[in-house]
Protein backbone atom coordinates (compact mmCIF):
# COMPACT_ATOMS: atom_id res chain seq x y z
CA UNK A 1 0.00 0.00 0.00
CA UNK A 2 1.08 3.56 -0.49
CA UNK A 3 0.91 6.08 2.30
CA UNK A 4 1.29 9.83 2.53
CA UNK A 5 4.89 9.34 3.56
CA UNK A 6 5.70 6.48 1.20
CA UNK A 7 7.11 3.10 2.16
CA UNK A 8 10.76 3.85 2.89
CA UNK A 9 11.01 6.07 5.91
CA UNK A 10 13.98 7.28 7.95
CA UNK A 11 13.62 8.74 11.43
CA UNK A 12 16.33 11.03 12.70
CA UNK A 13 16.63 13.18 15.79
CA UNK A 14 18.55 13.67 19.00
CA UNK A 15 19.10 10.83 21.41
CA UNK A 16 15.93 10.02 23.40
CA UNK A 17 13.69 11.87 20.96
CA UNK A 18 11.62 8.71 20.49
CA UNK A 19 12.93 7.49 17.12
CA UNK A 20 12.67 3.78 17.86
CA UNK A 21 9.25 4.05 19.45
CA UNK A 22 7.90 6.02 16.50
CA UNK A 23 9.52 3.64 14.00
CA UNK A 24 7.66 0.76 15.61
CA UNK A 25 4.36 2.65 15.52
CA UNK A 26 4.72 3.71 11.90
CA UNK A 27 5.91 0.24 10.95
CA UNK A 28 2.81 -1.27 12.52
CA UNK A 29 0.50 1.26 10.90
CA UNK A 30 2.01 0.87 7.44
CA UNK A 31 2.69 -2.86 7.65
CA UNK A 32 6.43 -2.36 7.23
CA UNK A 33 9.38 -3.80 9.17
CA UNK A 34 11.10 -1.35 11.51
CA UNK A 35 14.80 -1.37 12.24
CA UNK A 36 16.84 0.31 14.96
CA UNK A 37 20.25 1.26 13.58
CA UNK A 38 21.79 1.02 17.07
CA UNK A 39 21.00 -2.69 17.04
CA UNK A 40 22.65 -3.00 13.64
CA UNK A 41 25.73 -1.07 14.66
CA UNK A 42 26.76 -2.08 18.16
CA UNK A 43 28.67 -5.25 18.96
CA UNK A 44 29.30 -6.61 22.46
CA UNK A 45 31.53 -4.42 24.66
CA UNK A 46 30.21 -1.22 23.00
CA UNK A 47 32.36 -1.86 19.95
CA UNK A 48 30.96 -0.27 16.82
CA UNK A 49 30.86 -2.00 13.45
CA UNK A 50 33.69 -1.19 11.03
CA UNK A 51 32.77 0.74 7.90
CA UNK A 52 33.44 -2.20 5.56
CA UNK A 53 30.90 -4.23 7.48
CA UNK A 54 28.53 -1.39 8.38
CA UNK A 55 28.05 0.17 4.94
CA UNK A 56 27.08 -3.03 3.09
CA UNK A 57 24.63 -3.70 5.91
CA UNK A 58 23.06 -0.27 5.41
CA UNK A 59 22.90 -0.75 1.65
CA UNK A 60 21.24 -4.14 2.01
CA UNK A 61 18.66 -2.55 4.28
CA UNK A 62 18.14 0.31 1.82
CA UNK A 63 17.57 -2.10 -1.06
CA UNK A 64 14.33 -3.36 0.49
CA UNK A 65 11.03 -2.11 -0.93
CA UNK A 66 9.56 -1.03 2.39
CA UNK A 67 11.11 -0.17 5.74
CA UNK A 68 11.05 2.21 8.66
CA UNK A 69 14.53 2.86 10.02
CA UNK A 70 15.31 4.70 13.26
CA UNK A 71 18.75 6.22 13.70
CA UNK A 72 21.11 9.01 12.69
CA UNK A 73 24.68 7.86 11.85
CA UNK A 74 24.33 10.58 9.25
CA UNK A 75 27.82 10.37 7.78
CA UNK A 76 27.06 6.73 6.95
CA UNK A 77 23.35 6.80 6.21
CA UNK A 78 23.39 9.84 3.95
CA UNK A 79 25.33 8.02 1.21
CA UNK A 80 24.13 4.47 1.93
CA UNK A 81 20.51 4.71 3.09
CA UNK A 82 18.99 8.12 2.48
CA UNK A 83 19.12 8.03 -1.33
CA UNK A 84 16.45 5.30 -1.20
CA UNK A 85 14.28 7.04 1.42
CA UNK A 86 10.95 8.53 0.42
CA UNK A 87 10.49 10.45 3.66
CA UNK A 88 12.82 11.62 6.39
CA UNK A 89 11.02 12.33 9.64
CA UNK A 90 13.06 14.66 11.80
CA UNK A 91 12.17 14.68 15.49
CA UNK A 92 13.54 18.11 16.29
CA UNK A 93 12.73 18.23 19.98
CA UNK A 94 14.11 20.94 22.27
CA UNK A 95 16.81 20.01 24.79
CA UNK A 96 14.47 20.69 27.70
CA UNK A 97 12.34 17.78 26.48
CA UNK A 98 15.20 15.51 25.49
CA UNK A 99 17.67 15.85 28.35
CA UNK A 100 15.41 14.65 31.18
CA UNK A 101 14.51 11.67 29.00
CA UNK A 102 18.18 10.85 28.38
CA UNK A 103 18.81 10.75 32.10
CA UNK A 104 15.67 8.82 33.00
CA UNK A 105 16.26 6.24 30.31
CA UNK A 106 19.94 5.72 31.16
CA UNK A 107 19.08 5.40 34.84
CA UNK A 108 16.33 2.89 34.19
CA UNK A 109 18.45 0.85 31.82
CA UNK A 110 21.49 0.84 34.08
CA UNK A 111 19.40 -0.19 37.10
CA UNK A 112 17.59 -2.96 35.29
CA UNK A 113 20.77 -4.10 33.52
CA UNK A 114 18.55 -4.53 30.47
CA UNK A 115 20.47 -6.10 27.61
CA UNK A 116 20.29 -3.57 24.76
CA UNK A 117 20.02 -4.97 21.23
CA UNK A 118 21.17 -8.29 22.62
CA UNK A 119 24.68 -7.00 23.08
CA UNK A 120 25.28 -4.29 25.66
CA UNK A 121 24.32 -3.00 29.06
CA UNK A 122 23.74 0.71 29.75
CA UNK A 123 26.18 2.67 31.88
CA UNK A 124 24.76 5.58 33.84
CA UNK A 125 27.35 7.84 35.46
CA UNK A 126 29.52 8.39 32.39
CA UNK A 127 26.46 9.82 30.58
CA UNK A 128 26.33 12.79 32.94
CA UNK A 129 29.64 14.25 31.84
CA UNK A 130 28.09 16.99 29.73
CA UNK A 131 31.56 18.28 28.73
CA UNK A 132 32.44 14.92 27.24
CA UNK A 133 31.00 14.43 23.74
CA UNK A 134 31.06 10.66 24.37
CA UNK A 135 28.50 11.02 27.15
CA UNK A 136 24.87 11.05 26.04
CA UNK A 137 24.28 14.47 27.58
CA UNK A 138 27.36 15.93 25.90
CA UNK A 139 26.37 14.24 22.66
CA UNK A 140 22.84 15.63 22.77
CA UNK A 141 24.12 19.17 23.23
CA UNK A 142 26.90 19.02 20.66
CA UNK A 143 25.00 17.27 17.89
CA UNK A 144 22.09 19.67 18.08
CA UNK A 145 23.56 22.50 16.02
CA UNK A 146 25.32 20.15 13.66
CA UNK A 147 22.10 18.28 13.01
CA UNK A 148 20.15 21.44 12.21
CA UNK A 149 22.77 22.75 9.83
CA UNK A 150 22.96 19.41 8.16
CA UNK A 151 19.21 18.97 7.72
CA UNK A 152 18.71 22.46 6.31
CA UNK A 153 21.53 21.85 3.83
CA UNK A 154 19.96 18.53 2.84
CA UNK A 155 16.60 20.18 2.18
CA UNK A 156 18.34 22.38 -0.40
CA UNK A 157 20.46 19.53 -1.85
CA UNK A 158 19.32 18.47 -5.37
CA UNK A 159 20.39 14.88 -4.66
CA UNK A 160 17.50 14.66 -2.18
CA UNK A 161 15.00 16.71 -4.16
CA UNK A 162 12.53 13.84 -4.13
CA UNK A 163 12.68 13.16 -0.42
CA UNK A 164 9.93 14.51 1.82
CA UNK A 165 11.01 16.06 5.09
CA UNK A 166 8.66 15.96 8.03
CA UNK A 167 10.04 18.14 10.80
CA UNK A 168 8.21 17.73 14.10
CA UNK A 169 9.11 19.92 17.04
CA UNK A 170 7.15 18.78 20.08
CA UNK A 171 5.76 15.56 21.52
CA UNK A 172 2.26 16.93 20.74
CA UNK A 173 3.16 17.42 17.08
CA UNK A 174 4.65 13.94 16.86
CA UNK A 175 1.48 12.50 18.33
CA UNK A 176 -0.82 14.49 16.01
CA UNK A 177 1.15 13.55 12.93
CA UNK A 178 1.39 9.87 13.85
CA UNK A 179 -2.33 9.65 14.58
CA UNK A 180 -3.12 11.22 11.24
CA UNK A 181 -0.94 8.66 9.45
CA UNK A 182 -2.48 5.81 11.43
CA UNK A 183 -5.97 7.16 10.72
CA UNK A 184 -5.29 7.39 6.98
CA UNK A 185 -4.09 3.77 7.01
CA UNK A 186 -7.16 2.47 8.79
CA UNK A 187 -9.72 4.38 6.76
CA UNK A 188 -11.68 2.24 4.28
CA UNK A 189 -10.51 4.22 1.22
Amino acid sequence: MTSTIGTRIVLVGPTSSGKTTLADRLGTALGLPSTDLDALYWKPGWVGAEDDEWHPRLRALAAGEGWVVAGNYIRHTMPNLWPRAETIVWLDLPLRVVLPRVLRRSWRRSRSRELLWGTNVERFWPQLKFWDPKSLVGYAIQTRVRMRNHMVATMANPAFARVRFVRLRSPAEIEAFTRAIEGACHSPS
Partner: protein, 207 residues
Protein backbone atom coordinates in the same frame (compact mmCIF):
# COMPACT_ATOMS: atom_id res chain seq x y z
CA UNK B 1 6.58 31.53 -21.19
CA UNK B 2 10.01 32.96 -20.63
CA UNK B 3 10.34 31.36 -17.24
CA UNK B 4 12.04 28.09 -18.12
CA UNK B 5 12.56 25.74 -15.22
CA UNK B 6 16.10 25.86 -13.91
CA UNK B 7 17.48 22.37 -14.38
CA UNK B 8 18.75 21.69 -10.93
CA UNK B 9 16.24 23.35 -8.64
CA UNK B 10 16.23 21.28 -5.45
CA UNK B 11 12.74 22.55 -4.61
CA UNK B 12 10.97 22.29 -7.94
CA UNK B 13 9.45 25.26 -9.72
CA UNK B 14 6.01 25.71 -8.15
CA UNK B 15 6.47 26.86 -4.62
CA UNK B 16 4.28 28.30 -1.87
CA UNK B 17 5.65 30.01 1.20
CA UNK B 18 3.40 29.96 4.22
CA UNK B 19 3.82 31.08 7.81
CA UNK B 20 2.80 33.63 10.38
CA UNK B 21 2.54 37.33 9.64
CA UNK B 22 5.98 39.00 9.58
CA UNK B 23 7.73 35.63 9.37
CA UNK B 24 9.49 36.79 6.21
CA UNK B 25 7.36 35.13 3.52
CA UNK B 26 7.57 37.85 0.88
CA UNK B 27 11.28 38.43 1.36
CA UNK B 28 12.02 34.74 0.94
CA UNK B 29 9.63 34.40 -2.01
CA UNK B 30 11.27 37.30 -3.82
CA UNK B 31 14.73 35.80 -3.29
CA UNK B 32 13.71 32.35 -4.48
CA UNK B 33 11.83 33.78 -7.46
CA UNK B 34 15.00 35.58 -8.50
CA UNK B 35 17.14 32.46 -8.01
CA UNK B 36 14.72 30.28 -10.00
CA UNK B 37 13.88 32.96 -12.58
CA UNK B 38 10.19 32.49 -11.79
CA UNK B 39 7.45 35.06 -11.19
CA UNK B 40 6.86 36.17 -7.62
CA UNK B 41 3.21 36.19 -6.59
CA UNK B 42 2.15 37.98 -3.43
CA UNK B 43 -1.30 36.94 -2.29
CA UNK B 44 -1.76 39.99 -0.03
CA UNK B 45 -1.24 42.21 -3.05
CA UNK B 46 -3.93 40.30 -4.96
CA UNK B 47 -6.22 40.39 -1.95
CA UNK B 48 -6.24 43.96 -0.70
CA UNK B 49 -8.18 46.62 -2.53
CA UNK B 50 -7.84 50.28 -1.58
CA UNK B 51 -9.09 50.92 1.95
CA UNK B 52 -7.88 47.49 3.09
CA UNK B 53 -10.90 45.88 1.50
CA UNK B 54 -10.12 42.16 1.46
CA UNK B 55 -11.30 40.52 -1.74
CA UNK B 56 -10.99 37.06 -0.20
CA UNK B 57 -13.85 38.05 2.10
CA UNK B 58 -15.88 40.45 0.00
CA UNK B 59 -15.44 39.03 -3.46
CA UNK B 60 -13.84 35.59 -3.26
CA UNK B 61 -14.62 34.91 -6.92
CA UNK B 62 -12.50 37.82 -8.04
CA UNK B 63 -9.71 36.80 -5.64
CA UNK B 64 -9.78 33.25 -6.99
CA UNK B 65 -9.72 34.56 -10.55
CA UNK B 66 -6.65 36.67 -9.82
CA UNK B 67 -4.80 33.86 -8.05
CA UNK B 68 -5.61 31.43 -10.83
CA UNK B 69 -4.31 33.83 -13.42
CA UNK B 70 -1.10 34.43 -11.47
CA UNK B 71 -0.40 30.72 -10.99
CA UNK B 72 -1.26 29.30 -14.39
CA UNK B 73 2.34 28.98 -15.55
CA UNK B 74 4.81 26.18 -14.86
CA UNK B 75 6.92 28.15 -12.43
CA UNK B 76 6.03 30.62 -9.69
CA UNK B 77 6.80 31.39 -6.09
CA UNK B 78 3.75 32.40 -4.04
CA UNK B 79 4.02 34.25 -0.74
CA UNK B 80 1.04 33.72 1.52
CA UNK B 81 -1.23 31.01 2.82
CA UNK B 82 -4.97 31.59 2.33
CA UNK B 83 -5.11 27.80 2.49
CA UNK B 84 -8.90 27.55 2.58
CA UNK B 85 -8.97 29.08 -0.92
CA UNK B 86 -5.63 28.15 -2.44
CA UNK B 87 -5.67 24.43 -1.63
CA UNK B 88 -8.37 23.99 -4.27
CA UNK B 89 -6.57 26.26 -6.71
CA UNK B 90 -2.98 25.11 -6.96
CA UNK B 91 -1.94 22.75 -4.18
CA UNK B 92 -2.34 19.78 -6.51
CA UNK B 93 0.38 21.33 -8.69
CA UNK B 94 2.73 22.40 -5.90
CA UNK B 95 6.22 20.96 -5.66
CA UNK B 96 7.20 22.52 -2.38
CA UNK B 97 5.65 24.29 0.58
CA UNK B 98 8.15 26.23 2.62
CA UNK B 99 6.80 26.75 6.11
CA UNK B 100 8.38 29.68 7.90
CA UNK B 101 7.89 28.97 11.56
CA UNK B 102 10.05 31.20 13.74
CA UNK B 103 9.06 31.41 17.41
CA UNK B 104 6.44 34.01 18.37
CA UNK B 105 8.91 35.95 20.48
CA UNK B 106 10.87 36.62 17.27
CA UNK B 107 7.79 37.40 15.19
CA UNK B 108 6.01 39.89 17.45
CA UNK B 109 8.77 42.53 17.56
CA UNK B 110 8.94 42.32 13.77
CA UNK B 111 5.21 42.95 13.47
CA UNK B 112 5.65 46.17 15.40
CA UNK B 113 8.84 47.37 13.75
CA UNK B 114 7.49 46.67 10.28
CA UNK B 115 4.18 48.40 10.95
CA UNK B 116 5.99 51.36 12.47
CA UNK B 117 8.40 51.67 9.54
CA UNK B 118 5.66 51.37 6.92
CA UNK B 119 3.42 53.81 8.74
CA UNK B 120 6.16 56.42 9.15
CA UNK B 121 7.36 56.14 5.59
CA UNK B 122 3.82 56.17 4.18
CA UNK B 123 4.95 53.40 1.85
CA UNK B 124 2.21 52.48 -0.60
CA UNK B 125 1.75 48.74 -0.14
CA UNK B 126 0.97 46.79 -3.31
CA UNK B 127 -0.06 50.06 -4.92
CA UNK B 128 -3.24 50.18 -2.91
CA UNK B 129 -2.88 50.71 0.81
CA UNK B 130 -1.03 52.51 3.54
CA UNK B 131 -0.07 50.79 6.75
CA UNK B 132 -1.92 51.68 9.92
CA UNK B 133 0.10 51.56 13.06
CA UNK B 134 -2.07 52.24 16.09
CA UNK B 135 -4.69 49.60 15.34
CA UNK B 136 -1.92 46.97 15.28
CA UNK B 137 -1.02 47.84 18.83
CA UNK B 138 -4.47 47.25 20.21
CA UNK B 139 -3.97 43.72 21.29
CA UNK B 140 -7.69 43.13 21.65
CA UNK B 141 -8.81 44.78 18.43
CA UNK B 142 -10.05 42.82 15.44
CA UNK B 143 -7.62 44.66 13.13
CA UNK B 144 -4.57 44.06 15.27
CA UNK B 145 -1.81 42.12 13.60
CA UNK B 146 -0.41 41.28 17.02
CA UNK B 147 -3.68 39.74 18.03
CA UNK B 148 -3.80 37.91 14.73
CA UNK B 149 -0.25 36.57 15.08
CA UNK B 150 -0.88 35.18 18.55
CA UNK B 151 -4.36 33.76 18.12
CA UNK B 152 -3.90 32.06 14.77
CA UNK B 153 -0.49 30.52 15.50
CA UNK B 154 -1.80 27.39 17.19
CA UNK B 155 -4.60 26.70 14.74
CA UNK B 156 -2.33 27.18 11.73
CA UNK B 157 0.31 24.92 13.25
CA UNK B 158 -2.22 22.15 13.68
CA UNK B 159 -3.53 22.63 10.15
CA UNK B 160 -0.05 22.45 8.64
CA UNK B 161 0.89 19.31 10.56
CA UNK B 162 -2.38 17.78 9.34
CA UNK B 163 -1.57 18.79 5.77
CA UNK B 164 1.82 17.04 5.99
CA UNK B 165 0.02 13.80 6.87
CA UNK B 166 -2.80 14.27 4.35
CA UNK B 167 -2.70 11.80 1.43
CA UNK B 168 -3.99 14.55 -0.90
CA UNK B 169 -0.74 16.43 -0.45
CA UNK B 170 1.66 13.50 -0.47
CA UNK B 171 3.30 14.90 -3.63
CA UNK B 172 4.31 18.09 -1.79
CA UNK B 173 7.57 18.51 0.08
CA UNK B 174 7.03 20.51 3.25
CA UNK B 175 10.21 22.26 4.28
CA UNK B 176 9.95 23.86 7.69
CA UNK B 177 12.42 26.56 8.68
CA UNK B 178 12.36 27.88 12.21
CA UNK B 179 14.88 30.71 12.36
CA UNK B 180 16.16 33.49 10.13
CA UNK B 181 19.59 31.85 10.16
CA UNK B 182 18.04 28.67 8.75
CA UNK B 183 16.27 30.64 6.04
CA UNK B 184 19.55 32.24 4.99
CA UNK B 185 21.39 28.92 4.94
CA UNK B 186 18.58 27.32 2.97
CA UNK B 187 18.37 30.07 0.32
CA UNK B 188 22.15 30.01 -0.06
CA UNK B 189 21.92 26.26 -0.68
CA UNK B 190 19.23 26.71 -3.32
CA UNK B 191 21.15 29.50 -5.03
CA UNK B 192 24.27 27.35 -5.12
CA UNK B 193 22.34 24.46 -6.69
CA UNK B 194 20.82 26.49 -9.48
CA UNK B 195 23.92 28.53 -10.23
CA UNK B 196 25.33 27.49 -13.63
CA UNK B 197 28.66 26.54 -12.12
CA UNK B 198 27.06 24.43 -9.42
CA UNK B 199 29.28 21.56 -8.43
CA UNK B 200 27.91 18.07 -8.87
CA UNK B 201 26.43 16.75 -5.64
CA UNK B 202 28.73 14.46 -3.77
CA UNK B 203 26.04 11.98 -2.87
CA UNK B 204 24.59 9.39 -5.20
CA UNK B 205 21.62 10.50 -7.24
CA UNK B 206 18.39 9.60 -5.47
CA UNK B 207 16.98 6.41 -6.91
Amino acid sequence: MSHAAPPRSPIGTRIAIIGNTSAGKSTLAARLARALDAPFVELDALNFEPGWRALAEHDPHEFVRRVREATQGDAWVVAGGYQSLTQDLYWDRLHTVIWLDPPLQRVLPRVLSRSWRRWRSKELLWGTNYERFWPQLRFWGPDSLLWYAVTTQRRKHDATIAAMADPRWSHIRFLRLTSFAEVDAFVAGVERSVAPRAAAPTTEEAR
